[in-house]
Amino acid sequence: MSDVATEIKVPVVPAELVREPLVQNNRSFGWISDRVSAITEGKVPKWWWAAFIPSLCLLGLLGAMLFYQITTGVGVWGNHHPTMWGWDIINFVWWIGIGHAGTLISAILFLMRQRWRTAVNRAAEAMTIFAVMCAGIYPGVHVGRVWFDWWLFPIPTYQGLWPQFRSPLMWDVFAVSTYFTVSVLFWYVGLIPDLATMRDRAKTKVKQFIYGFFALGWTGSNRHWSNYEKAYLILAGLSTPLVLSVHSIVSLDFAVSQLPGWHTTIFPPYFVAGAVFSGFGMVLTLLIPLRSMCHLEDIITMRHIDVMCKVTLATGCIVSYAYVMEFIIAWYSGSAMEKFHFMNRALGPMWWGWVMMMSCNMIVPQLFWFKKVRSNLVLVFIMSIFVNIGMWFERFVIVVVGLYREFLPSNWGYYKPTWVDICTFLGTFGLFFTMFLLFMRFLPMIAVSEVKGVTPEADPHHPSAGGHGNGGKH
C-alpha cells in the first residue's frame, strides 16, 4: 500500500452527454412554488373568462341535449338500422382513448423513472379524469332508459337477473369504472403535498379550510413523505396494467363480435397504441397554449414538448402499422367478406373517413421525425389537433364503416348524424373544458413538489445543493 493519498477522481461528463435541465434558467424552489401558485392566486386573467364562458355554454348545451334525448328516446340520434352504433360509441371510444396519456405519463413513466413526467403529469391526469367523465356519459345514455343504468352492475335483486358476464360490454363497465376510480385516487394522492402548499400560502380562512381539509393534515414530515412515496408507488403499480387493459377491453367490444373488420386479434394492441397516440395529441393541444398563457416555459420546456412529440410519433407508427396490417390480413385471410370490407373502407361511399384517418394518423405524424418540426410550437399545436381529428375518424371508420354495409346487400344503408349527435358531442367539449379550466384555476396545475425534485439543487451531490436558504422548505 502506498502511503501517498490517491486523488479522488471525479468523472467528467462529456459535453454532448449533458442533458438539458428539466427546469430551465436555474429556477429556485421558491420560484417554482410562486409561479405555479400564481395561476390560482392571482387575479383571474381575461383569457380564462374568454375560455370559460363558452365552455359553460357548451356544458349547458350538453345538459339540454341529454335532457332531450332521455325524455324523447335514442331515436333522436342518427343510429338506425344497419348502423346501430354511431357517434355515441365513436365519441365514447375517442374520449376514453384521450384519457390514456394521463395514466401512461403518471404510472408507466413513473415506474420507468422518466423524470420529465413531473412537469406534465398533473395536467395530464386531470385531463384523463375529465375525458373519462365525458366518455362515461355515452354508454350511460346510449342504453336509452337511463333509470335502469344500475342494471349494468351485478347487484343481487329480487329479479334474479344478472348482467351477461360473457359480454365485453359488461367487461367495459368494470374496466372503465376501475380506471376512473384508480385515476382519481392517483391524481388525488399526488395532489396532497401541493394542497398543503396551497393551504400554507392561502390568505383567506375559507381557502385555508378547503385546501387544509383536502391536504389531510399534511405537514411534510419524514413519516408523511415516506407513506406518500409508498402509496404513490403502489398506485402507480395498480395503474400500469390499467393503461393496457382498459383500451384492450374497449377494443374487445368490437373484436369479440363476428363482423368483418371488427373480428381481428390485432385490435387490443392497436387500440392501446391509438389511445396513447390520441392522448399525447390532446396533452400537446392543451399544454402548448397553457405554458405560454401561464408563463410556464421554464417548467414545461421545449425538451418536454420534444419528448411528447417523439411518443406521438412512435405510437403513430404503431397504429400506421396496424392500418396496413389489417389490409394485408384481409387479403391473406382469403375471406371474401373481409376483403370486401377493406375494399369498401378505402373505396366505398365513405372513403373520405378512411382518407382522413390515414392522412391524419399515418402521414402527419411522420413530420415529427424532424427536429425543426418538433421545435416549432405552432406546427406542433396544429399537428396535435390533426392527431385528435385523425383518431376520431379512426373510430368513425371502425364503428360506422364496419356496420353500414354488412353481409346482405339488402341490409345496406348509410349513416348520417343528427343535430342532436353533433350538439351532444360539442357539449362534451363543454364539460371537458369547464372542468379543466376550473381545475387549473383552483388546483396547482403542475406537480410543484415533484418538479422541485428534478431540479439540480435537489440533488445532494450537486454543487448548488443546500446553497439556497429556501431549500429545506418544500
Partner: protein, 222 residues
C-alpha cells in the same frame, strides 16, 4: 402557523371510514329487505265487496277450484266466476242472507261484483295459467293455501326470481295432474320421504308433461 383545524379532527378520517362503512351496510341491508316484493306485496289483503270465505268453500266444503275458476285449464286467464255461478247453490242455500245481498242483486241485474284484484303481474310479463296447471304446477305454488284463507291475501312474492326459482328447477314443484287443485297435497306426510318421492317422480313428470320451463327473456317478456 396557527392550527386551522381543532385537534379532534385527527380522528375525522377514522370516523369517516367507520361512518361510511356503516352507512353502506345500512343502505344495503335496507334495500335488500325493504325494496322487494317479499316486503311490499306479500300480505296485501284488500277488503272485498262480498266477504267470501275460501276457507269455507274450498276448504270445509271441498269445492274444487275449477268449479268457479272454470277457464283456468283452457285460458291464459283464470276467470273470476260470474254471480250466476254463486247462485247455482245460493238460490237455495242461505238464500235470504243479508251478506249475499250484493250477489243476488248482481245476478239479477247482470252487473258484475267489483272484486278487487290481488295477484297481478306487470303489463310486460306474459303469464299463462293453462300452460302451468296442465303441466303439473298446482295453484298453491303461486297463490298459497287459499283453502285456509277466510279472505284472500297475497301470500307469495311473485317476483321475477320467484318465477325463476321454479323455471330453473321445475322438477322440485311438479305434481301428478290430478292433484293440481288439492292444495294440501304432499307426496307423503313424512317430509323426508316426501322429498325423496318428489326427487324420484319430479323428473319423470317433467318429461311426461313435456315441461320446457323456458329461461329465455322472451318466454315471459314478449
Amino acid at each position: 402557523m396557527s392550527a386551522i383545524f381543532p385537534k379532534w379532527t385527527n380522528k375525522l378520517p377514522l370516523m369517516v371510514i367507520v361512518g361510511g362503512l356503516l352507512t353502506v351496510i345500512a343502505v344495503t341491508a335496507g334495500v335488500w329487505y325493504y325494496f322487494t316484493p317479499k316486503y311490499f306485496r306479500v300480505g296485501y289483503q284488500p277488503i272485498q265487496p262480498v266477504s267470501f270465505s275460501h276457507a269455507t268453500h274450498a276448504g270445509q266444503l271441498g269445492i274444487d277450484c275449477r268449479y268457479c275458476h272454470s277457464m283456468v285449464e283452457k285460458s291464459w286467464f283464470s276467470n273470476i266466476p260470474a254471480s250466476s255461478t254463486c247462485m247455482n247453490c245460493h238460490n237455495q242455500v242461505l238464500k235470504d242472507d243479508p251478506r249475499l245481498a250484493l250477489v243476488r242483486e248482481s245476478a239479477a241485474s247482470g252487473k258484475p261484483i267489483p272484486w278487487v284484484q290481488i295477484h297481478r303481474v306487470p303489463d310486460f310479463v306474459y303469464f299463462n295459467h293453462a300452460v302451468h296447471v296442465n303441466r303439473g304446477i298446482s295453484c298453491v305454488e303461486c297463490h298459497g293455501r287459499i283453502d285456509q284463507m277466510e279472505e284472500v291475501y297475497h301470500s307469495k312474492p311473485l317476483s321475477m326470481s320467484f318465477c325463476l326459482d321454479c323455471h330453473n328447477n321445475p322438477a322440485a314443484k311438479v305434481r301428478p295432474a290430478d292433484k293440481i287443485t288439492d292444495l294440501g297435497w304432499t307426496p307423503s306426510p313424512d317430509p323426508a320421504i316426501a322429498a325423496q318421492t318428489q326427487a324420484q317422480y319430479g323428473k319423470k313428470f317433467v318429461h311426461d308433461f313435456r315441461v320446457e320451463s323456458l329461461n329465455n327473456c322472451s318466454a315471459c317478456h314478449r
